[in-house]
Amino acid sequence: MPSTSLESLHADVAAARELAAKIPRPVTLMEVCGTHTVAICKSGLRDLLPKEIRLISGPGCPVCVSTQGYIDACMELAASGKVTLATYGDMLRVPGTKLSLAEARARGADVRVVYSALDALTLARAHRDSAVVFVAVGFETTAPATALAVKSADAEGLRNFHVLVSHKRIIPAMAALVAAPDLSIDGFICPGHVSVIIGPESYHAIAKAGRPCVIAGFEGADVARAVRMILEQITAGRSDVENEYSRAVKPGGNPKALKLFNDVFEVADEDWRGLGVIPASGFALKGKYRTFDALTAYGVTIRPAPEPKGCLCGQVVRGAVDPEDCALFGTGCTPAHPIGPCMVSREGSCAAHYKYARRAAG
């Protein structure tokens, strides 16, 4: 792939504009990675692209696609007083049915922010008298770290470390969105770092279903290039998988990571906020690693829980509703007073729009 730079971003935007003019209807491109959601907003790229090219967000924010029941289970563990709950910072303020983890912490629960599963493991090793539970959300980029942490804990005979696994696989979700009768997605900007792990080949079925897939890096220039590449495919009547992020994504992905998944996890059905249960869309601990499952160890069940009244996060993560079309956006639901996870998570569609795109004309 040719190298990208800020100068080429403008060339790609101009090319995209010309290509879009040849397409008789507006084009909707979906990214499915929270880091892309933020990168696109932060770069100001939407500002530069014509209105006929719609960039929308899909179910790419791990916190946002966690169900209310899962959030409540985290809360139950935190409030039990039996564990140190180690979590990514983004989970802290998501409102559970009763409390958020931040509120639970203010009431005395031991909740710590960590940057990775390996940090949580370090915590468990350093504090043998504490029972650490790691809230393991994320897609295929973060799942290997959880798998490694569990494997290490097993090898060391660590008894005070458990994980609340909710890792999700992105391809089944993309397939579900392609099949959804109420959505019309013309192409996918595919997640760069998930693709480092799963490889470009993983998207073939989606491309075969008529949706061009271009894997993109995370700078504005990368996304602009990917947008151009998708439009080139559409105007040429093609639907293939292409790789804009070839400096990091290689054919075959990371075989060691894929083998690690096989060792530690089995593919399982997974419940997604807004998308419901999607077969084979998640990972569950398997075999001897089941002893590290926090739900079993602590006797906690994930019970279905209703979403907050008026909250449209479920529709936002499907790309069916734009954040600013939700009646609560900016009024009842703001980053300071969030109703749903899309407004809480740094990578949530609503938070990103509120923080970077709302009334951006200045």
Binding site: T4, S116, L118, G217, E219, A248
Partner: protein, 74 residues
């Protein structure tokens, strides 16, 4: 959540390496990149090296990231 930055491996000790990312030394697990050697460039995500990169590819990523602000010479 998918943030990853390229850095250069300075040393390896079994399963972990010290990766230098523009003056920040990160302890990263290298189990997923068994082919990596001292001096190689790797992409690091939350304490885990996920792929080896060529020096040219790493430099391209770093340059793109630098273009956001008025960043000094490293």
């Amino acid at each position: 959540m998918c943030l990853a930055v390229p850095g250069k491996i300075e040393s390896i000790d079994g399963d972990t390496g010290v990766v230098n990312i523009e003056g920040n030394r990160v302890h990263a697990m290298i189990s997923l990149v068994p082919e990596a050697r001292v001096g190689d460039w790797v992409l690091v995500h939350a304490g885990l090296a996920v792929t080896v990169m060529s020096e040219a590819d790493a430099a391209e990523t770093l340059n793109l990231m630098r273009e956001k602000y008025a960043v000094d010479e490293p």
